[in-house]
Amino acid sequence: MKSFTQHRGLVGPMDRANVDTDMIIPKQFLKSIKRTGFGPNLFDELRYLDHGEPGQDCSSRPLNPDFSLNQERYQGASILLTRKNFGCGSSREHAPWALEDYGFNAVIAPSYADIFYNNCFKNGVLPVILLEREVGILFSELEASEGYQLDIDLVSQTVSSDSGQIFNFSLDQFRKQCLLNGLDEIGLTLMQTEKIKQYEIEREKSHPWVYGAIK
């Protein structure tokens, strides 16, 4: 898995709450059997004026000039700044795949939907949780200065801006270690094979109806 230790990058805004995963990557793109190539369709319905279909060349499609990430100043953004409950709705991992493929290494928001938050860690995209007030400050700074960049350090769990703002964020230590080291979670779990097998033997004895019926 892709690792994440620290990142400095241009910030792009998505100034709305409850951005759902249908908005991040609309359903027609979920027909792909691949993990890659979703970037051009990130926020497809907001980003383009026409209707997008999978397999299309997006470079000639009409862009929506009102969509924030289409503005010249945000081109090359690698940190997405947004509002609360980001990633709600469908469990599609295509959402972090699309963010990552577009070029986002991190998202900053006051809160996330549970499944989306979890999915980000599997793909080297760091979902940073800051207080609503802190996110508000970052939005104000972003609006005021073109080329606005932030530093995100996973080791010290901080977000810092050039103006001297430093905000701490917390996250689960297991997730932090996996992300720092780019660990293969399946490989890690398989190191516990004996424990799983032992559990399973007990379960087959105590709850036999769980097994054997489906074949």
């Binding site: 709305r16 709450a17 409850n18 759902d20 249908d22 908005m23 609309p26 359903k27 027609q28 979920l30 027909k31 792909s32 059997i33 691949k34 993990r35 319905e45 209707h51 999978p54 397999g55 509002r83 409950n85 709600c88 709705g89 469908s90 469990s91 599609r92 991992e93 972090p96 809160s111 939907a113 549970d114 499944i115 979890n118 999915n119 599997k122 793909n123 689960d172 230590q173 297991f174 997730r175 270690q177 979670e185 399946i186 890690l188 779990t189 398989l190 516990q192 424990k195 799983i196 399973e200 379960r203 709850h207 036999p208 109806w209 769980v210 097994y211 054997g212 019926a213 489906i214 074949k215």
Partner: protein, 483 residues
């Protein structure tokens, strides 16, 4: 041992090991797969040279992007007109064949929307941990399962290890006491709950639905409620075991018989929260306050009683909320202050993992019986949730009621709930829909979704606009008995 909630009990029973860093390895009893979120997981297994941990814990079926049109279905997978969809459905068939996973194929009896199929086959049983690459997996919690959606990386993880690396959630109890009134259905109850706690109200929590309303509710009704726990932000929703749970399970395809059945039932009866168990948060609603509900906006929390007016932005004091409200009204093409019953509908969709079971079909048929779809309505889709629901509905003559009313009787699948198939809304069209999400573009780019119960959707089809089914029908809706 101290008093435990139902969730605590299910968690404890499935805990393989707890690591020093606070993460836990949770054992998964049942893994349900479909065509959209599994191909990359199978590919991952192949690349790493891994095999599924075991086979009899997995069950698969295609549902999301298959056609619901009879003639298209008859020509099989090779006849799916959209090439990308065809490749994806074919990939599920190939992967299941290759790895030896039990699949109910597109036209096979047993096929259906994953969350309709699992319980009706008895593939999901009380006390199980159930996961699926789909956020509406909470549905299975109606059978007191610990069930939630996972991403594709976790689909691969469960296939390879039969476990999930996870962390325990908090406990939330939502009690609804009293008796559901005339024309009020399980869908109205869950929409009212979402309206109260909001679309992130249950984040980080496992919700247990408790109180007399859920005790009186059928298992299928409980599925509708648990299904939409995710729309309240909770990935897990559940209801404790009672006699209804046990009666529901008895005799289903994968449910044990004889001694093992009795052993299972004895265990299932323990799957209730202890009377003195503590919840991290509690919410209470009263059934008297719940009447038929309709969403007017672009988030499930933007919901109101059918008798209400669409909210006015000027009445919203919070700046952020007002901005969201203005944006939602603009997208929906509505004016603040207009009565909800004045909203005309272009299409009606009755189906989805929320509302496509036999009781939902009966609920809609009671309204449709002897009536006609309004001339202004372009299309009414009735999409049963599974082959078994379809067969049962046809045996009860419900298909004929729908067809006589001018509605289309389709083959089972996710259909217009997420429009990954040919069933979708046109730009600007309003839809009375029994599905679960009214997000922008969910049912088609520019489509405007109004979530409601099957009875309300059928009434809207007949009236041509949103209408209060209570005045329309004038009788109690009976879901559990045949018409």
């Amino acid at each position: 041992m101290s008093a435990r909630t139902l969730y605590d009990k299910l968690w404890d029973t499935h805990l393989v090991t707890e690591n020093d860093d606070g993460s836990s390895l949770l054992y998964i009893d049942r893994h349900v797969l479909h065509e959209v979120t599994s191909p990359q997981a199978f590919e991952g297994l192949r690349i790493a040279g891994r095999m599924p941990w075991r086979l009899d814990t997995n069950i698969a079926t295609p549902d999301h992007n298959i056609s619901t049109d009879r003639s298209e279905r008859e020509s099989g997978v090779s006849g799916i007109p959209d090439e990308i969809s065809r490749i994806q459905v074919q990939a599920l068939d190939d992967n299941c064949d290759h790895f030896g996973i039990k699949e109910f194929k597109m036209n096979e009896m047993g096929q259906g929307i994953v969350h309709v199929m699992g319980p009706e086959l008895g593939a999901t049983m009380p006390g199980m941990t159930v996961v699926c690459g789909d956020s509406h997996t909470a549905t299975h919690g109606a059978l007191a399962c610990l069930a939630h959606g996972i991403g594709t990386s976790e689909v691969e993880h469960v296939l390879a290890t039969q476990c999930l690396v996870t962390k325990k959630m908090k406990n939330m109890r939502i009690r609804v006491e009293g008796k559901m009134g005339l024309g009020v259905t399980p869908k109205d109850v869950v929409l009212a709950i979402i309206g109260k706690i909001g679309t992130a109200g249950g984040s980080g929590h496992a919700i247990e639905f408790a109180g007399s309303v859920f005790r009186d509710m059928s298992i299928e009704g409980r599925m509708t409620v648990c299904n939409m726990a995710i729309e309240a932000g909770a990935s897990v929703g559940m209801v404790a075991v009672d006699e209804k749970t046990i009666d529901y399970c008895e005799g289903r395809k994968f449910v044990p018989k004889g001694d093992v059945w009795h052993q299972a039932v004895a265990y299932w009866r323990t799957l209730v929260s202890d009377s003195d168990a503590l919840f991290d948060s509690e919410v209470e609603l009263h059934a008297d306050d719940i009447i038929p509900q309709v969403t007017w906006g672009t988030s499930p929390e933007m919901v109101a009683p059918v008798t209400a007016l669409v909210p006015r932005p000027e009445d919203q004091p919070d700046n952020e909320l007002r901005k969201g409200l203005v944006r939602a009204l603009e997208y929906m093409g509505l004016e603040g202050g207009m009565p909800i019953v004045s909203i005309y509908v272009d299409r009606v969709f009755i189906g989805s993992c929320t509302n496509s079971r036999i009781e939902d079909m009966r609920e809609a048929a009671q309204v449709a019986k002897g009536r006609q779809v309004a001339a202004s309505v372009k299309q009414v889709l009735i999409v049963p949730g599974s082959q078994m629901v379809k067969a049962q509905a046809e045996a009860e003559g419900l298909d004929q009621i729908f067809i006589a009313a001018g509605m289309e009787w389709r083959d089972p699948g996710c259909s217009m709930c997420l429009a990954m198939n040919a069933d979708k809304l046109g730009d600007g069209e309003h839809c009375a829909s029994t599905s679960n999400r009214n997000f922008e573009g969910r049912q088609g780019k520019g489509g405007r979704t109004h979530l409601m119960s099957p009875a309300m959707a059928a009434a809207a089809a007949v009236a041509g606009h949103i209408v209060d089914v209570r005045s329309f029908l004038g009788q109690t809706i009976s879901r559990e008995t045949q018409l």
